[in-house]
């Protein structure tokens, strides 16, 4: 039962997205933008254990709010490298 439904949903959704194509100028636009974008090198400072998270100050925060600050930092770092954060 699910097999039939699955294949029908799959066909509908594929046909829906196939109505649009990636932009024809996309490659040139990308290479132009990439040429202007600085590449991120390994940040070895990030390897040093940090007990404070001054990069992400939380308004009205005090020393007891290190947990949300750590979560924010972890989420940002993992997002940038394409790894989803799970804390």
């Amino acid at each position: 039962m699910n097999g039939n439904i699955d294949s029908t949903i799959s066909r509908i959704l594929k046909n829906w997205v196939s109505r649009h194509q990636p932009p024809a100028y996309g490659r040139a636009r990308l290479l132009l933008a990439a040429a202007d974008t600085p590449r991120k090198k390994h940040n070895f400072l990030a390897l040093i254990p940090r007990t404070e998270f001054n990069d992400y100050p939380i308004p009205g925060s005090n020393g007891n709010e290190w947990a949300p600050a750590m979560f924010t930092w972890f989420f940002e770092q993992s997002f940038q490298t394409g790894i989803q954060a799970r804390v």
């Binding site: 066909r11 509908i12 990636p22």
Partner: protein, 205 residues
């Protein structure tokens, strides 16, 4: 996934993704172009299916590959590239949808109300085919987390295990979101009543 890709690439005499990423890590933009040509459809269709907006999908397509270029040095060439692309695409698409819902949609609604250009007006209706609009609405009505799973499963044909790895969630969660998404789509697309979308279910090529 990676084994099949490596074998087919070797058979066809193509440069492997890992070699291209290695080349990109040294700053070779031509490698980025080849990777773009190879994977642009994957990224575009995933972004389009999650956002439901072709212009946004085109922008996200560029953003994903710009990040690939920017963070190339962080990518492990020992691992396949496609899961990284799927992960980045879904994350950026989620961000776009959240931002759009929070900031832009209310403004669009006000603008439509002021100009009298309602979305359900006859002019807009004729412009956008009713059936496809129904499909888009069905997808958009799914919660974001369910939408990602549904898109990766039905559009990208990934297995439940692959989706779990990409989204970093347990297999059981993927299955439950898929079940919920399936039921919701079945209902909103009216698939349970033997109503066949002949115009929508033609064979995909």
């Amino acid at each position: 996934m990676e084994v099949c890709q490596s074998l087919s690439a070797e058979r066809e005499g193509l440069v492997l993704d890992s070699d291209l990423v290695r080349s990109l890590q040294t700053g070779n933009l031509e490698a980025l172009g080849v990777l773009y040509d190879r994977h642009q459809r994957l990224v575009f269709r995933t972004a389009l299916a999650i956002t439901g907006d072709a212009e946004a999908a085109a922008d996200l397509l560029q953003e994903v590959f710009l990040r690939l270029h920017r963070f190339a040095s962080h990518i492990d060439v020992g691992r396949p590239l496609e899961p990284w692309l799927y992960r980045m695409t879904t994350n950026l698409s989620y961000t776009w949808v959240k931002r759009h819902n929070r900031l832009l949609r209310p403004l669009e609604d006000v603008a439509d109300w002021i100009t009298g250009n309602r979305k359900d007006s006859p002019a807009v209706r004729t412009e956008m085919d009713e059936s496809w609009r129904q499909v888009q609405q069905a997808i958009s009505s799914l919660p974001l987390s369910h939408r990602g799973v549904v898109v990766l499963y039905y559009v990208d044909e990934l297995s439940v295990q692959e989706i779990a790895k990409i989204l970093s969630i347990p297999v059981g969660t993927v299955k439950s979101r898929l079940h919920y998404g399936r039921q919701a789509l079945k209902k909103s697309l009216d698939l349970s009543q033997d109503r066949i979308f002949t115009e929508l279910t033609y064979e995909f090529t």
